[in-house]
């Protein structure tokens, strides 16, 4: 749309840079205050939801003020640049105070905007109606911020946004990477304002550390809450006698000359079992109310990292042999810990295995990685006295806990599935590599 500019050419109001664009992010300034600019000369580089564009000056003149900092989201219709028009400059311009709604909005955009942005009378921005928070797990962010995140290998969906409507801003990415201490002073007053505004309970004494409920931790919390709210959880527990498997595993380790943990054996057993229990290998689309039986097995594998739990996905896991599974899992786990993991590898799972074995514990009540319908928690294998045909013997047992979404999977089905896994682990011919 054509943007009506002030007749005295004192301000250049940011126009719609595309079709129906309402805001744009300031990428860089191409001029400085005091510069003489010509008509059509580029003032700034800005990025809309669709395009990175150069914004030219609509007339010749001298730049007085640049209203905004790099990374700021500038609303269409607000004054981008102030021109020096000499004595004719309207006195009221500099003193103009933005109304409360606009100020709050500016605060969430990025701190300094509200201070720098002064608009002449008649060019007030409309109070911003709060954007509904996204219902899916994708973060809101402009393409440029997404690019920054990509460049820094940050999964943008785990960064909590402080921008308008929960948008992730460039400084959010920065603070995510550098930690809370690195928040630039310029934006902290604005963030403090928000914090005060949303605080519901005053803390009591005896707090040794305050950890912002942010980043991966908050993302995990949101995902788990969503799963618990949506899926009807129930769990089945079982133990597998892996005495024989352990012997064979040790044998395989000797043969290959490297360590192979019990986990890949469990994964291989799960893959096999999913093939005979397709109902366990599905996802639920609650929006269209559909249970989607999956033809592929993409196995999520929970990984404990310094920055929280992550669930990388082994794509087409049932096509991989045991050793390949082992390699792929350790590769993905390393990428998670190094934060180099590709976003593609963090989604698209059809079933998840969560191993807490090396930390101890027996049974768990794992929470389903929604929209999947099942998750297998694997405890620590322990040596135990077992019986067989009326005789005692010492063997290894592996505790397993299966949680399912009862909306999709019934108890008997879950038990049968778990029994299949148990059977495969106890008679491991079918999951061992053919050497």
């Amino acid at each position: 749309m054509v943007m009506k500019q002030p007749d005295d050419r004192s301000h250049f109001l940011l126009p719609d840079l595309g079709e129906g664009v309402t805001e744009a992010e300031l990428i860089s300034w191409k001029v400085s205050p005091g510069d003489m600019v010509k008509e059509h000369q580029t003032l700034a580089e800005m990025e809309t939801d669709k395009a990175l564009v150069e914004v030219p000056s609509p007339w010749s003149g001298t730049i007085k003020e640049l209203n905004g900092n790099v990374g700021d989201i500038i609303l269409v219709g607000s004054a981008l640049v102030t021109y020096d028009i000499g004595d004719a400059a309207p006195e009221s311009v500099a003193a103009e105070v933005i109304d409360v709604a606009a100020r709050e909005d500016a605060g969430t955009v990025v701190g300094s905007v509200s201070e720098a942005l002064s608009v002449p009378p008649g060019f007030h921005r409309k109070p911003e109606t709060p954007t509904a928070s996204p219902t899916d797990d994708r973060s809101l962010a402009t393409p440029s911020v997404r690019r920054i995140a990509r460049d820094l290998n940050v999964d943008i969906d785990v960064v909590s946004g402080t921008g308008r409507g929960g948008r992730v801003t460039a400084s959010d990415i920065q603070s995510h990477v550098e930690g809370p201490a690195a928040i630039t002073p310029i934006s902290s007053p604005a963030q403090e304002e928000i914090a005060i505004a949303t605080r519901v309970a005053q803390p009591i004494e005896g707090i040794s550390e305050r950890i912002p409920f942010r980043g991966v931790r908050r993302k995990i919390a949101e995902a788990l809450q969503h799963s618990l709210r949506t899926a009807a959880h129930f769990s089945v527990n079982e133990e597998a006698d892996i005495t024989d498997l352990e012997k064979r595993r040790k044998g395989l380790e000797t043969l290959l000359g490297r360590r192979i943990s019990p986990l890949p054996f469990v994964l291989a057993a799960v893959c096999k079992a999913l093939r005979t229990h397709p109902r366990m290998n599905c996802t639920v689309d609650d929006f269209v109310e559909e249970i989607q039986i999956r033809s592929i097995v993409n196995l999520g594998c929970a990984v404990d990292t310094d920055h929280g739990l992550m669930v990388p996905v082994v794509k087409n896991a049932d096509a991989l042999g045991l050793v390949q599974l082992a390699d792929r899992v350790s590769e993905l786990a390393k990428e998670c810990r190094d934060r180099t993991i590709d976003r593609e590898d963090l989604s698209g799972g059809t079933f998840t295995v969560s191993s807490v074995g090396n930390c101890g514990g027996m049974f768990t009540t794992p929470i389903i990685n929604y929209p999947e319908v099942g998750i297998l928690g694997v405890g620590r294998a322990r040596e135990q006295v077992l019986t067989k045909d009326g005789a005692f013997y010492a063997g290894f047992v592996l505790p397993m806990s299966l949680s399912c979404d009862h909306r999709v999977v019934d108890g008997a089905e879950a038990a049968r599935f778990l029994t299949t896994i148990k059977g495969l682990l106890e008679a491991p011919e079918h999951i061992l590599p053919t050497v």
Binding site: M3, H40, A51, P58
Partner: protein, 364 residues
């Protein structure tokens, strides 16, 4: 009878002046007088500058959306040069060069993109820019049909992109034109991109030209960045339309050097390497070299032309920007030759609080 060949044909590709400066003297024989080549080059250069300024007008909020024409000037200009005044030029939105050559005031195109309907008030035989993809091809068929019906020898020449050939309207237009023997020239500007969809996804056949074969139409492919070749194929097609009342389908291979429109960012979906390759095939580069080799052009004239273009386009922008606001009567004045009662009622009650209602509250 064994398996036999039912039909076989080759699609010709016409090139006269290629990007390496190779020039086919025999095909160019008597095609364009040297003086006119100079005029056409000057015109192209003006259009290129107009294009740059129009783009910036959008970015500084003085105009709505704008589709850059950069790199495709030769296609419509070659056609406009080869057509006659009595012929209709039925364009989409990347044919500024041809429209201006025919006499459409550049100011009108700016007004159009500023959302001012007066930009569509065109006094030469050209239809207003068609933004919806493919609608205008049917209009061209109608105009060609009308011309034939009236026993006139004017023809219709329509322009559309590669993406439009996947629209139903295209096939309807082609079918009608071929089966009714209508004097229509279909010019597909294959600029490689239907917004962000590459031609290869849009059409599985090796050429778009062969889409015309299905309708029994004469089909030809041409280097759309070659002004000479464009003039030749359009002239041949126009003769075929005028003397035999048969349509032609022309696939002009060109390239959209800019974004689809100002609302697009082509860097997101295409490689700069390919754009660079096509920049070297820019129709203006080879034409300037051709002129310089014949001492018809030099750097001095180029500099003077640039200044001239700047002054001229500045004037165009000032005229378009300085136009008085349109009156509300304009909304009613142009759609019908005789205004229907319901619209007349709206016109009369426009300034009252009861728009479209009579004094008694009746009306729509």
């Amino acid at each position: 009878m064994p398996v036999d060949c039912a039909f076989e044909i080759a699609i010709e590709r016409v090139s006269i002046l290629d990007e390496h400066g190779v020039f086919d003297e025999s095909l160019a024989q008597g095609l364009i007088p040297d003086d006119d080549v100079v005029k056409l080059y000057r015109h192209m250069s003006m259009c290129r500058h107009f294009d740059e300024i129009a783009f910036k007008l959008q970015r500084s909020g003085r105009m709505g959306t704008y589709p850059e024409n950069r790199g495709q000037e030769a296609t419509s200009l070659g056609a406009a040069y080869a057509l006659e005044d009595k012929d209709w030029m039925v364009t989409c939105y990347r044919e500024n060069a041809g429209l201006f050559w025919r006499g459409v005031d550049p100011e009108k195109i700016l007004l159009h993109w500023m959302g001012d309907e007066r930009g569509n008030n065109i006094s030469v035989r050209a239809t207003p820019l068609a933004i919806p993809i493919g609608t205008q091809m049917l209009h061209a068929v109608g105009l060609g049909w009308a011309s034939k019906y009236r026993g006139e020898d004017g023809i219709a020449c329509t322009f559309f992109g590669d993406g439009a050939t996947s629209e139903g309207d295209f096939h309807e237009a082609m079918n009608f034109a071929a089966n009714l023997d209508l004097p229509v020239v279909f010019v597909c500007q294959n600029n490689s991109w239907a917004i962000s969809t590459p031609t290869a996804i849009n059409c599985s056949a090796p050429t778009l030209a062969q889409r015309g074969l299905a309708y029994g139409m004469h089909c030809v492919q041409v280097d759309g960045n070659d002004l000479f070749a464009m003039v030749k194929v359009i002239r041949d097609a126009a003769t075929r339309a005028r003397t035999e009342s048969r349509p032609t389908f022309i696939e002009a291979i060109t390239y959209r050097l800019g974004d689809h429109t100002t609302a697009d960012d082509a860097r997101r979906y295409r490689d700069q390497d390919v754009v660079d390759e096509w920049s070297a095939r820019d129709p203006m580069i080879r034409l300037r070299k051709w002129l310089e080799q014949r001492d018809l052009w030099d750097e001095g004239r180029e500099q003077a032309l640039r200044t001239e273009n700047e002054i001229y386009v500045k004037g165009v922008v000032e005229r378009a920007g300085g136009i008085e606001p349109p009156t509300t009567d304009d909304m009613f004045a142009w759609m019908y030759s005789e205004i229907p009662p319901v619209l007349d009622l709206q016109r009369r009650t426009l300034r009252t609080s009861s728009l479209g209602q009579g004094i008694d509250g009746s009306g729509s």
